[in-house]
């Protein structure tokens, strides 16, 4: 049998939020179509470092493993991306795994992204329906509008766009591209648009759309290819319009 190929991984570990991070290195047996999830599972099955030290399995967040739930975002070789779609064969070794840096670490690669969901709340990212009882059909929507809304609606709240944004950091409360994109999405919907004003009002609040400084990293890092820069621009346009008209005539 041919000699076994191995994979080298360096992982930034942290036992708890108040503990110091440290690095551990692992050497694992290579398998075809290996992704970062498989690496981490292999470590969990046999948590021994390269030096032979017995350690604990690496904590990480993952669920669907097909890049649609958004859970497994982390920094892989310095870049924010989803672990499930990060194929080992396409990564330079040693593979460096770190938690996202813009969110509080829970443990190891597991971070707390609840801030994003809180911000969705602030932006009123929903279509305010009267109730779930039967009120007939929804509004007619042109196929072209649906084709514009659908890609925006594929956001998986992974947080990669926040991770790569230089404007998102501990000195700023910028909500980030994902959230602003949702404002655009709901302002596009015929019923959602009835409450456009409230949403724009919120997105002009602290940490809102004005905090974007056009570095445009978000659109490059988005695993779903959402036109985030365009979304921010459109929200900007609507916001400024509302601001000026509100000021002049409001």
């Amino acid at each position: 049998m041919a000699e076994k190929k191995t994979v080298l991984v360096r992982i930034k570990r942290q036992l708890a939020p108040d503990q110091k991070p440290y690095w551990e290195e692992f050497e694992l047996t290579w398998r075809p179509f290996m992704n970062v999830i498989i690496l981490l599972r292999d470590i969990a099955e046999r948590p021994v470092t390269r030096e032979g030290k017995v350690t604990t399995p690496v904590a990480f967040d993952a669920n669907c493993l097909e890049e649609v739930c958004g859970a497994c975002a982390m920094r892989i070789n310095g870049k924010a991306r989803q672990a499930c779609s990060a194929l080992v064969d396409q990564l330079e070794q040693p593979i460096r795994l770190e938690p996202l840096t813009k969110f509080p670490v829970v443990r190891d690669l597991f971070v707390d992204r609840s801030r994003m969901f809180e911000n969705l709340k602030r932006m009123k990212a929903w279509v305010p329906i009267d109730g779930t009882y039967h009120l007939g059909e929804g509004p007619r929507i042109a196929p072209e509008v649906q084709q514009r809304a659908y890609p925006l609606s594929r956001c998986i709240t992974c947080g990669n766009c926040l991770e790569v944004c230089p404007q998102v950091n501990e000195r700023s409360d910028f909500v980030g591209a994902a959230i602003i994109n949702q404002v655009r999405l709901f302002n596009l919907h015929p019923t959602g648009a009835m409450h456009k004003r409230e949403r724009l009002d919120a997105v002009m609040g602290p940490g809102g759309v004005h905090d974007c400084a056009n570095a445009q990293n978000c659109v490059k890092a988005c695993p779903k290819g959402i036109p985030l820069v365009e979304s921010i621009s459109e929200v900007n346009r609507d916001a400024i319009r509302q601001a000026i008209f509100g000021w002049l005539f409001g």
């Binding site: 036992l15 708890a16 398998r31 179509f33 290996m34 992704n35 999830i37 498989i38 599972r41 969990a44 099955e45 948590p47 017995v54 604990t56 399995p57 993952a62 669920n63 669907c64 493993l65 097909e66 890049e67 649609v68 739930c69 958004g70 859970a71 499930c84 194929l87 443990r107 597991f110 992204r113 609840s114 969901f117 969705l120 709340k121 009123k124 990212a125 929903w126 279509v127 305010p128 329906i129 779930t132 039967h134 007939g136 059909e137 929804g138 509004p139 007619r140 929507i141 042109a142 196929p143 649906q146 659908y150 609606s153 594929r154 998986i156 709240t157 709901f186 919907h189 019923t191 959602g192």
Partner: protein, 593 residues
């Protein structure tokens, strides 16, 4: 009047729908979910949601939807509630549409419908190829709105451990664990609705998400909730095999014109595109001319098994067949199927718009689940309700594609108000239950944690899980032999024995995923036995349950709902008659014209 409180466990489609219904009724809800609800497994549902809105002039009707569902499920489902579901489906679509789900549209701005398996009608509304995602988001947003109004409180990152039952065996709340601090806590409630989804992890690798372990259902089962039709496991015909999971390639690929084939010549080494039409074997179209590639999943899976294992015609000699959409126009593929084609491209580096995809069947769904009654989604334990994939009610022996999303929403819509009614009519609410009832349950659960963290042994939980998965996949999926089922149960008992000697590689008390997994593993092993024993006992072939030794459906003896009961550590079975009052059973044949 006393204000009741209701708990919902699970934040997928069913759980969110139930939450919305309860909140709408003005009753406070606490919603528990392992993952942020927006990451629930419903997000993976791809193809669409069925509703007979008959917008294509085909003469479709809710009765035909009902008939297709019952027939597709091989007459095992109790019929009245299924009929109610099919009748509710068009309004459900309208509701989702109003909530802003970006369903694909016709040029007139109406909802577009595609075809799906087990029907001859365009009955499936869809949002690209990520319909479940879009529906989940819409419901999540409605719940977020209630949350902002203070009507819903979410506990995300908590896992359900057990129900709190009082002396009379009435559910008075739940016991859950915070997955960060590992704190075990009880939460009183007047009723609890369980929407805890699938059980894929029992089969090791499946199309399911990581959280789909069935652990909650199993925990409830061990507390006395009955588990019905566990042996009916749906295997999906087209998935991409992977080391970590099987990634689903939606039936919608075939609904939009995708074709399944293998080269006629065994082990043909030629690249697929260079194989001429006449040397391709479109076996589904040949064997099932009327439904073609859109036969129900159990039928398609058995056909693929036959082609691969009996006729030895698997692609390049491997267990794989081609799912081919490369003949379809690119514009259509990008507009209607992008979400799934992107998955194939990302994970295998091959563009399915150019090359046929290599797929193979994989465990996908459980038709069985917590037993519920015929009207309220109520289990046999007072105060416990179930809805979504974790209930057993709607799909009989085989689920039709795009019916699961309807059943999730419909189940949630029934369970929420039913739980509210129950809670309001309770004579004595959870607040009147002595604290000792809650303390006892909390102590019991804490002790399990302490024991697991303390115990020394030589067994690895992941190894046990993998072994269980291999056995279950090999013997308790597509083709079942009694001898193998017996051996599998013995194996499971052996694994349970070994489980007592597991050694946790992580004994810390903060965000300890190993501990949580070990807890889930025990529950998975128990539920695996329910499935295996149920299959062993059912000596017939019906829907997804196929025994070559008993190849025919046997209505005489087995037109019955399996009901597994946990009795002092033993699993006992009872059988109930099926309500077939609306559509009398008839032979299920998809191969006739």
């Amino acid at each position: 009047m006393r204000q009741p409180k209701i708990i919902v466990v699970g934040g997928g489609l069913a759980g969110l729908m139930a939450t919305i219904k309860v909140a709408e009724a003005g009753v406070p809800v606490e919603l528990f979910s392992i993952v942020p609800v927006r990451r629930s497994h419903s997000v993976c549902a791809q193809g669409g949601i069925n509703a007979a809105k008959n917008t294509k002039g085909e003469g479709d009707s809710t009765w035909k939807h009902f008939d297709d569902t019952i027939y597709g499920g091989d007459f095992l489902a109790n019929q009245p509630l299924v009929k109610a579901m099919c009748e509710a489906a068009p309004a459900i679509i309208d509701l989702l549409d109003r909530m802003g789900v970006p369903f694909n549209r016709t040029p007139e701005g109406l909802l577009d419908f595609r075809r799906f398996g087990g029907t001859l009608y365009h009955r499936t509304a869809f949002a690209g190829a990520t319909t479940g995602q879009q529906m989940l988001y819409a419901l999540d947003e409605q719940v977020r709105r209630f949350e902002a109004e203070g009507k819903v409180r979410k506990y995300e990152g908590w896992t359900f451990l057990s129900a709190v039952l009082d002396e009379q065996g009435i559910c008075r709340g739940i016991c859950a664990m915070d997955l960060k601090s590992m704190q075990v806590r009880t939460f009183p409630a007047d009723a609890a609705i369980f929407c805890t989804g699938g059980i894929g992890a029992i089969f090791g690798r499946s199309t399911n998400s990581v959280v789909c372990t069935g652990s909650a259902q199993s925990a409830l089962f061990q507390q006395g909730v009955h588990y019905a039709n566990g042996e009916f496991i749906q295997v999906h015909p087209t998935a991409i095999p992977g080391e970590d999971k099987f990634r689903l390639m939606s039936e919608s690929a075939r609904g939009e014109g995708g074709r399944v084939w293998v080269p006629r010549q065994p082990g043909d080494p030629r690249p697929p595109k260079s194989i001429p039409e006449n040397e391709r074997f479109y076996f589904l179209e040949e064997w099932y001319p009327k439904y073609g590639n859109l036969v129900p999943r159990d039928v398609a899976v058995r056909a693929i098994h036959k082609v691969v294992f009996e006729l030895k015609l698997g692609v390049e000699g491997q267990p794989a067949v081609y799912l081919d959409v490369s003949h379809l126009p690119r514009e259509l593929l990008d507009r209607k199927l992008e979400g799934i084609l992107e998955i194939y491209e990302k994970f295998l580096g091959v563009d399915p718009r150019e090359q046929p995809m290599k797929v193979f069947p994989a465990m996908h769904y459980t038709m069985g689940g917590l037993w519920i009654d015929d009207e309220n989604q109520a289990t046999n334990v007072p105060g416990i309700y179930a809805a979504g994939e974790c209930d057993y009610h709607y799909h009989g022996a085989n689920r039709l594609g795009a019916n699961s999303l309807v059943s999730c929403i419909f189940g949630g819509m029934l369970a929420g108000p039913a739980a509210v009614r129950y809670a309001r009519n309770l004579e004595r609410g959870a607040d009147a239950v002595p604290a000792s009832v809650f303390e006892r349950e909390q102590r019991r659960q804490e002790e399990i944690n302490e024991r697991l963290l303390r115990q020394e042994g030589n067994e690895n939980p992941i190894a046990i899980w993998k072994e269980m998965g291999q056995w279950m996949t090999e013997h308790v999926t597509v083709v079942r032999y009694n001898k193998n089922l017996e051996r599998t149960d013995q194996k499971l008992q052996e694994l349970l024995e070994r489980y007592r000697r597991i050694n946790l590689s992580d004994r810390t008390k903060w965000s300890n995923q190993t501990l949580n997994f070990a807890r889930e593993l025990y529950n998975m092993l128990i539920l695996a036995r329910v499935i295996t024993l149920g299959a062993l006992r059912r000596n017939e072939s019906r829907g997804a349950h196929y025994k070559p030794e008993f190849p025919e459906r046997d209505d005489q003896n087995w037109l019955k709902t399996t009901r597994a009961i946990y009795d002092c550590g033993n699993i006992r079975f009872e059988y109930d008659p099926v309500d077939v009052s609306l559509i009398p059973p008839r032979p299920r044949r998809y191969d006739v014209k």
